[in-house]
Symmetry: C2
Subunit: 184 residues, 2 copies
Amino acid sequence: MARRAQTAAAVLGALSVAPMTGYELRRNITEVLGHFWHESFGQLYPCLTELLDESLVRAQPGDRTGSHRYRITAAGRRRLAELLAEPPTRQPPRDGLLLRVFFGRSLSPASVAEILDAEEASVRAALARYADIRAEVTTEDEYAAHRPYWLATLRAGELGAAARLAWIEETRAALDLPATLTPP
Amino acid sequence: MARRAQTAAAVLGALSVAPMTGYELRRNITEVLGHFWHESFGQLYPCLTELLDESLVRAQPGDRTGSHRYRITAAGRRRLAELLAEPPTRQPPRDGLLLRVFFGRSLSPASVAEILDAEEASVRAALARYADIRAEVTTEDEYAAHRPYWLATLRAGELGAAARLAWIEETRAALDLPATLTPP
DNA sequence: GGGCACATGTAAGCTGTTACATGATTAA
DNA sequence: TTAATCATGTAACAGCTTACATGTGCCC
């Protein structure tokens, strides 16, 4: 599945949940899918134009002058199901943190410790975001039918974050680095 | 840290472990760093040329006609340490698996189950590769000084894979999907 | 001699990022 | 009236992927 196709899948998927403008699409992709997905927004409007040409979405006048509210069509729903059923395109890994640890012998222990501290902070920040999302998803009733799926992706984030925290602790021990204070 | 800079870091890092030809660099990046790193090989030779221009690596004649064995210089080691000390560039997330699960309501349960099965297979394959790498790293004595760092990156892969397997099981249960037989 | 692994490179095409341009509406 | 948010786009640039081109050395 080409990268372009996955952009179309994300857009059609969002519109399958609710009709919205390009701007709302952008915001929703950032805020709702943000913890596992990123769209290049320079591609978003061109993608919508393509989907319109193929009659996979329809545009109706929006609330404001010149704004469009996009709505998925029946053909769009069929295409979405096809796209999602294709095997995912994996993006090649490029983990800057592990690159730094792998060549850690070229760094001072203090530098390695700093890198791990920064990672810990970023993982904890992610966990905090997950807690917010969880609160929202569990209280929101409008999209109850989607809830088990949305909770599943959230859970993937939570388990991944927990695994990385465990790894950080283990790695500090293995490399004889000082453990930082765990926030209360 | 720009993407280019991380390519330079990977190349300098590899050469900091042992001098090698461009071809060996390519192979080592694929085989040794492969579980967390990917280089675009169209960029590798241009990158080596740049590093030569900056005197961060030297080329000496290799074993064959026209081949070069690249060796990192003292300036190259200093640059490597600088590059590794910079905060990693995170690549924006684009997890096709989670995209599919998030919009799982647009799929049949059978399709979702298939997607999870495929993911499980791929995670188990990764675990098998990690086992091979672990055997190699622990028996190889030549690079003993690097061992704790290399084992740390390996451990990150192992813990991540375990977390994903746990997530798959949990998700099957949460979505009422059949559990597949676990291989012996 | 043929096939394979070694070895170095390039160029076309595709894709994404970034910054900018434009303007309407609303809240302070 | 000013700033922020809503809303739609585009164009230049940067970067990567893929496939190809070329040739050597070794083993059967």
